[in-house]
């Protein structure tokens, strides 16, 4: 599902590479946790996957799409195939829960009928039934993250990239979000999660990839957080 072959990313000529000859293979329906200290290269890796950044060298193939041959005008189409969740939610503040989730379908040109059928089901799936008309500022942090997840999965992407989704949440809400991600993974979506939360990493017993100074230092099938 995700293939990185000797990928290097350097931001400036005299700078150390943010990622240094990374090779990685993620199977479909896998749940992968990416750990590492700040500056280890996690965010850079995710930015390469969403094509916010181009690699300095190496090859990236996601869902069968080779990024080398990807034209700029097709990048929006690629991004519609990858669900993204951020630490700071990144919701549209002037739009309701329903509108925020529907937005992901509207940009793909889906009809109003399709949107009316799909969005309530996803809102129910993430446990926000009854809050469709609320604006983001009327929700708790955990609820906002659920809206972000609903928006990310409403197009039924094959891959969900979650960048520190629990970073701004208390332990209870953090676990709610993680359980939700597990549920989504169970339905067949490949999940790539970055986190600093030791407890979550250790309890999940999933594949854990550790990044240090731009390099993969460990890749464990049922791993734990290496301090």
């Amino acid at each position: 599902m995700i293939l990185l072959d000797r990928v290097t990313k350097t931001y400036g000529k005299d700078m150390k590479p943010a990622l240094n000859r990374i090779s990685l293979h993620v199977e479909p329906k896998e749940f992968v946790i990416l750990v590492g200290t700040s500056g280890a290269g996690k965010s850079t890796l995710l930015k390469l996957l969403t094509r916010e950044e181009k690699p300095s060298s190496g090859k990236i193939v996601v869902g069968g799409i080779d990024y080398d041959t990807l034209k700029d005008k097709h990048i929006p189409l690629l991004r519609r195939k990858i669900g993204v969740v951020f630490q700071d939610f990144k919701l549209l503040p002037q739009r309701t829960v329903f509108e925020n989730v529907a937005f992901a379908l509207e940009i793909a040109g889906m009809t109003n009928r399709e949107i009316k059928n799909t969005v309530p089901k996803v809102i129910e799936l993430v446990g926000l039934k009854g809050k469709e008309k609320n604006f983001p500022h009327q929700l708790s942090g955990g609820e906002r993250q659920r809206v972000a997840i609903a928006r990310a999965i409403v197009r039924q992407p094959k891959i969900l990239v979650a960048d520190e989704p629990t970073g701004n949440l208390d332990p209870k809400h953090s676990w709610d979000i993680v359980r939700l991600l597990e549920k989504i993974n169970k339905y067949g979506t490949t999940v790539l999660l970055t986190t600093h939360n030791v407890e979550i990493v250790n309890k999940l017993k999933r594949r854990v990839i550790t990044l240090e100074h731009g390099k993969i230092t460990s890749d464990q099938a049922q791993g734990s957080y290496r301090q």
């Binding site: 969403t50 094509r51 916010e52 700029d72 990048i75 929006p76 189409l77 690629l78 991004r79 519609r80 993204v84 951020f86 990144k90 919701l91 549209l92 503040p93 002037q94 739009r95 937005f103 992901a104 509207e106 940009i107 793909a108 040109g109 009809t111 109003n112 928006r151 990310a152």
Partner: protein
């Protein structure tokens, strides 16, 4: 159904579907723009206020230019373009000279003032001043027989020059002691006035242009700041797969709405302002009536022009302001 027909209908069905999606996307962009306009109350008020002031400046600049043009033409018409005839000139010669002058393309109007008419006008001006009146009644009438000429273009006196050199009736009847007002020493005075008039016109034109450019820059900056505040939103839209047009469209719709509302408000304020300053300007002797009358008579066009200008500035500003954030 044949294979080819099936293929054709499948293709036209796909085309129909694409068109429908395009239409749906356009409607959504408009809806988002309208939503942004109505939900970002403070931003809407601030941006619309700046644009209103901008359009009001443009309106005022045009009105001021109208008044300037009227003032210039008023001054131009008062410039003394005169030729002088002998005091005992015959009426039929005056008629011939007047007709010959009127036939010149640059001549707007010709008026003959006999020495008696000139004296009467002088007496009228001095009413109440008994000493001067007494002096006038005792003095010989030395005022000349004058033909006063108004020109379309006061910068061009070539036709008049060739007239005074070649018209035989004029040459036979001219006052040999007085040169035409546009010749000799008086010519310099007229040239000075014309220079000032064309300078004022040019400055007025440049000022109009400068004001419009500055105003457009102010609006551009306001919209740029409004969009800068929402750059996170734009980044998010990009990341979930919105294409450039879908992101830019609502901003353009929103800015167009600022322009529309500002156009209407600025026109109303501008007309009110014109009426408010009419009296003081008239007291200063400025000819404002034509500008006010023209504005009121063409109020529909003025309103339309202001709205179009507002929308245009909004669209161009938001187009360029979003460009920076829409790079992949």
């Amino acid at each position: 159904m044949s294979q080819a027909k099936k293929k054709m209908s499948a293709r036209s069905f796909a085309q129909q579907k694409r068109n429908k999606r395009r239409m749906l996307t356009s409607l959504r962009m408009v809806r988002y723009g309208v939503n942004n306009f109505s939900r970002n109350a403070w931003l809407t008020v601030a941006a619309t206020a700046v644009m209103t002031i901008t359009l009001l400046i443009v309106f005022t600049t045009f009105a001021a230019r109208g008044v300037l043009v009227d003032t210039v033409s008023d001054i131009s018409s008062r410039i003394d373009m005169s030729i002088y005839l002998k005091n005992d000139v015959r009426e039929d010669d005056v008629a011939t000279i007047t007709n010959d002058l009127e036939s010149l393309s640059n001549v707007q109007r010709v008026r003959y003032i006999s020495p008696e008419d000139a004296r009467r006008a002088q007496v009228d001006q001095q009413k109440g001043d008994q000493e001067t009146l007494q002096a006038l009644s005792e003095a010989t009438n030395r005022l000349p027989a004058t033909v006063r000429i108004s020109l379309h273009d006061i910068n061009d006196v070539s036709q008049l020059n060739s007239f005074v050199d070649s018209n035989q009736v004029y040459i036979d009847n001219r006052d040999t002691e007085r040169e035409p007002s546009f010749a000799g020493e008086r010519r310099q005075a007229i040239e000075n006035i014309t220079k000032w008039v064309s300078f004022a016109e040019r400055i007025g034109g440049i000022a109009t242009l400068v004001f419009i450019v500055i105003s457009a820059l102010i609006v551009f900056n306001t919209i740029r700041m409004a969009i800068f505040n929402r750059k996170e939103e734009i980044a998010m839209m990009k990341l979930i797969g919105a294409d450039r047009n879908f992101i830019r469209g609502p901003f353009i719709v929103e800015a167009s709405m600022y322009g529309f509302v500002a156009g209407v408000v600025a026109t109303i304020l501008g007309v009110v302002l014109l009426y408010a300053v009419r009296e003081p300007l008239v007291e200063y002797g400025l000819p404002v009536a034509t500008t006010i009358n023209d504005t009121v008579a063409l109020i529909g066009l003025v309103l339309l022009g202001m709205i179009i200008l507002g929308i245009l500035i909004g669209v161009i500003s938001s187009y360029f302001a979003t460009r920076k954030y829409l790079k992949i």
